[in-house]
């Protein structure tokens, strides 16, 4: 069996190595991937023609807060000057992708990337890709194993539908990597993709708080960049308010956000326009650190990382390294077919059958 052929080192839970280079995945994660793949052997496999990368955190990224329309807020523009004090910058990103379907479930792959910049050099560690076969039978087991492992919680959560499982598993891996980076770094800027909003199944408040606390204790500052935001203030998109400000600057909204449902923001929300150009981003900064330190962290980012269109290069690279290309998807499909002796079939595309050249959407 494949599982016996592999020989890899494991990392004890939360006993993180001192350097990011040595960051490794726990054995259980790899075993989980292999175990899930074992139940797929000799099934029929329909490779996905349309492949879309899903960034982890896709759903909670822009989870509320919603700024109410009660007029008690103020907008403050904070001009920034780069702080050239040598500070390491690290970024984490995770991608997942559906690579096909079997008779009993879906096949997906997850990959994570950590990029860090020290002494003017970028370094990266790519973890994966890890293929998973998720079925109705094993999805709960996989998901809860993930949660137990990463979040040290025995409380079982309901696994979502098969379609969303890949994203949720990606989120869990991302949290683990964020934890790894927080534990391995010291006095660094840690960049996350998404927001600091907690309260979802993949981002429990206690876990997120713990992550930020570990980072704080090691004098790290977490800056979470959201690529897209639907946050609106008086009907206007939040990022639109920064248009007239001279970069680099932060826009702080002082007011009373209203939270919907179980969502809980663990960060102060800013709009960051760090360079000239059309882009500005929602930036969440750990709210438990003093405001001066928040601003200083962004200034250190300006002084230590390359910024293009207001987006940090470290985070951009993390995204690039984790994203799956079409070529990689074919490679993963080949790996799965060979390892599990799957029989490749091509199910008719219903849309194409019905609508011919007009059936361009995803099948179904």
């Amino acid at each position: 069996m494949l599982i016996e052929q592999l020989n890899y080192t494991t990392t004890p839970r939360y006993n993180f190595p001192q350097t990011l280079e040595n960051l490794q995945l726990p054995q259980q994660f790899i075993e989980l991937s292999l175990r899930s793949m074992r139940n797929v052997e000799e099934e029929y496999f329909q490779p996905n023609e349309m492949t879309f990368n899903r960034s982890a955190m896709e759903n909670p990224e822009d989870a509320m807060p919603v700024f109410g329309n009660h007029g008690s807020f103020t907008i403050e523009s904070i001009p920034l000057k780069p702080l050239l004090e040598d500070t390491p910058v690290a970024a984490v990103d995770v991608s997942s992708i559906k690579v096909g379907e079997t008779e009993t479930g879906i096949l997906c792959a997850i990959r994570g990337a950590i990029v860090w910049k020290t002494e003017s050099r970028y370094k990266y560690l790519r973890l994966g890709p890890f293929p998973f076969h998720i079925t109705e039978e094993n999805k709960k087991e996989i998901y809860n194993l993930f949660r137990r492992y990463y979040f040290e919680t025995s409380e079982e959560a309901s696994a979502s539908s098969l379609i969303n499982m890949q994203t949720r598993m990606g989120n869990l891996l991302e949290r683990w990597l964020q934890m790894g980076v927080s534990c391995s770094s010291h006095n660094s800027i840690i960049l996350w993709d998404g927001s600091l909003t907690a309260g979802t199944a993949d981002s429990p408040v206690n876990v997120m708080s713990k992550l930020l606390e570990i980072a704080r204790n090691r004098l790290n500052t977490v800056l979470a960049f959201s690529k897209t935001t639907h946050l609106r203030l008086l009907g206007h998109r939040l990022t639109d308010f920064v248009r007239k400000s001279q970069p680099p600057c932060l826009l702080q909204i002082n007011g009373f956000p209203v939270y919907s449902g179980p969502m809980f923001p663990l960060g102060n929300v800013y709009v960051a326009k760090l360079t000239h150009g059309v882009c500005s981003f929602r930036l969440d900064i750990d709210r438990k650190i003093p405001r001066e330190q928040e601003i200083e962290a962004v200034r250190k980012l300006l002084g230590n990382d390359l910024l293009i269109q207001s987006y940090p290069e470290t985070l951009r690279l993390a995204h690039i390294f984790s994203t799956f290309t079409a070529n990689e998807v074919i490679g993963i499909q080949r790996f799965i077919v060979q390892q599990c002796r799957l029989k490749v079939i091509a199910r008719p595309n219903v849309r194409r059958l019905l609508f011919g050249p007009f059936g361009k959407g995803s099948e179904g």
């Binding site: 050099r121 970028y122 990266y124 790519r126 890890f130 290309t325 079409a326 490679g331 993963i332």
Partner: protein
């Protein structure tokens, strides 16, 4: 390997790097259900246009200079991804088809894309199957698979051949090999040797006499190759005067009269010819023109009044009638004298062949543009071939050979060319598609030859030309010589 596409007579085959296939290899696409298959040849190897490859390469190039790192890939999925990245498309030309065990030239069907099996076709199997090596084999060299490649001497019989390639790739070596191969089977060969490269064919590489010593006769103009006017035919003489020495029309008419005058007097000597021109009643300009040509003939050293030292071609050809070569050494011979000698030789050849004094001659002409007059090209391809002159042109300047020669060439022995224009010229050959010529010839290493045409039954093959134990090298005078 899987069939990807077919367009015209080009088949594209998807292949992974582990399946070692190179340009020039033959593949057999077998359709087991239909009990038939296609014989194809790989003419180019390209990367498969895998989706997402640009992103992949851009990302990888990012890591070259300013980003360093590693991958933790315990399942080794990346090896599969690399495999996909390195996927190849083999551009193949259909060379034939096999149906019920028989070889067909023009298949009108397509094998199944999903069911066909593709495998490499060893050259030895192909050689046996298409019966290239028949009863008069000339061992040309070896294939990439180290099997012997021999062509049938009959494939050169009655044929027009071209040996071409850039300098120092082995053209002359191959033509010597063909010359000796033909001699082995009793053929008569005439070599127009521009650089004196064939003069030592009768000696081994150690300088000792070899089996061809008595069969190779080297003729050097002015030394052991002289002719008397009495041996000359008027037409041959006129050809020399008009084509080699550019004698104008009026003067040619006067010369004809002088010649007839000497004929009546039975006085065919150079001295008599000089006297006749001097005393001939004609325009002074004509006389001057005739005199200048007369002195050219005199100074060439090719003509003699001494019948004892005059060469009798009938006798010479008699010597090589059962297998041998007359090597016309044109080294150190001036351009005009070269043309005089070649005009005479070709005229004599046609004369002997017309009178059936000889059966046929294999003519090897090195850099023929330097001594063949314009009208001879067509003559050689059409008229002279019917008389039994079967020519092999050897050149490193393919554009010096006319396009119609390429079109009518039966065999082309092609060595490496890198120049696009040269490749373009050669690709006009009718016996093969231009893509094959351009793609394969460009990558041929020295001494490797792409053989096209009847010699390989139109299955282009690459051979490493075998070494010869004869003194083959032409003497190039060098400035820097070895100290010892």
């Amino acid at each position: 390997m899987r069939i990807y596409k077919k367009e015209g007579n080009t088949v594209e085959i998807l292949c992974f790097p582990s399946e070692k296939v190179e340009k020039g290899d033959y593949l057999f696409i077998e359709d087991p259900k239909a009990n038939r298959g296609l014989v194809t040849q790989v003419v180019d190897v390209q990367f498969a246009n895998v989706p997402g490859i640009l992103e992949e390469l851009l990302r990888d190039s990012t890591t070259d200079d300013y980003v360093h790192g590693g991958n933790f890939d315990p399942l080794e999925v990346s090896s599969h991804i690399n495999h996909i990245q390195d996927a190849l498309v083999l551009i193949c030309k259909i060379r034939g088809a096999v149906q019920n065990g028989k070889l067909l030239v023009n298949p009108s069907w397509l094998p199944s894309r999903s069911k066909s099996k593709i495998k490499r076709l060893p050259i030895t199997s192909l050689l046996t199957f298409v019966k290239i090596n028949e009863d008069l084999p000339i061992d040309v060299g070896e294939t990439k698979e180290a099997s012997v490649l021999a062509i049938d001497a009959r494939a050169l019989d009655g044929k027009l051949n071209i040996v071409t390639g850039k300098k120092e790739t082995g053209k002359s070596h191959l033509s010597k090999l063909l010359v000796l191969g033909l001699i082995d089977y009793g053929a008569t060969v005439v070599v127009l040797d521009l650089n004196g490269e064939y003069v030592n064919l009768g000696f081994s590489s150690k300088g000792e006499k070899n089996e061809y010593y008595d069969k190779v006769h080297v003729l050097t103009s002015g030394a052991n190759l002289k002719v008397s006017l009495a041996q000359m035919d008027l037409q041959v003489m006129l050809n020399i005067l008009v084509h080699a020495l550019n004698l104008p029309g009026t003067s040619t008419r006067e010369f004809r009269r002088i010649w007839r005058f000497l004929q009546q007097r039975q006085a065919f000597t150079l001295q008599e010819l000089g006297e006749a021109i001097r005393n001939w009643k004609c325009n002074q300009h004509v006389r001057d023109a005739l005199f200048s040509r007369y002195y050219s003939l005199l100074n060439s050293g090719f003509f003699t009044d001494n019948l004892a030292e005059a060469t009798t071609f009938e006798e010479l050809f008699q010597k090589v009638q059962t297998g041998g070569a007359l090597v016309l050494n044109l080294r150190d011979v001036s351009s005009v004298d070269r043309q005089i000698v070649v005009e005479y030789m070709l005229g004599k050849l046609v004369e002997l062949l017309t009178e059936w004094k000889m059966r046929a001659v294999f003519l090897f002409a090195e850099e023929a543009h330097l001594y063949l007059r314009e009208t001879y090209w067509d003559d050689i391809v059409t008229r002279m071939r019917h008389f039994g002159v079967f020519t092999t042109f050897v050149t490193n300047q393919p554009d010096t050979i006319r396009e119609n020669i390429y079109r009518q060439a039966d065999n082309i022995f092609l060595f490496n060319f890198t120049n696009e224009r040269d490749l373009e010229t050669v690709s006009r050959a009718a016996r093969v598609d231009s893509e094959t010529v351009k793609s394969i010839a460009r990558d041929l290493p020295p001494h490797y030859c792409l053989i096209l045409g009847k010699a390989v039954k139109d299955f282009p093959m690459v051979a490493k030309v075998k070494a010869l134990d004869v003194q083959t090298m032409g003497h190039t005078r060098l400035f820097f010589t070895d100290k010892d």
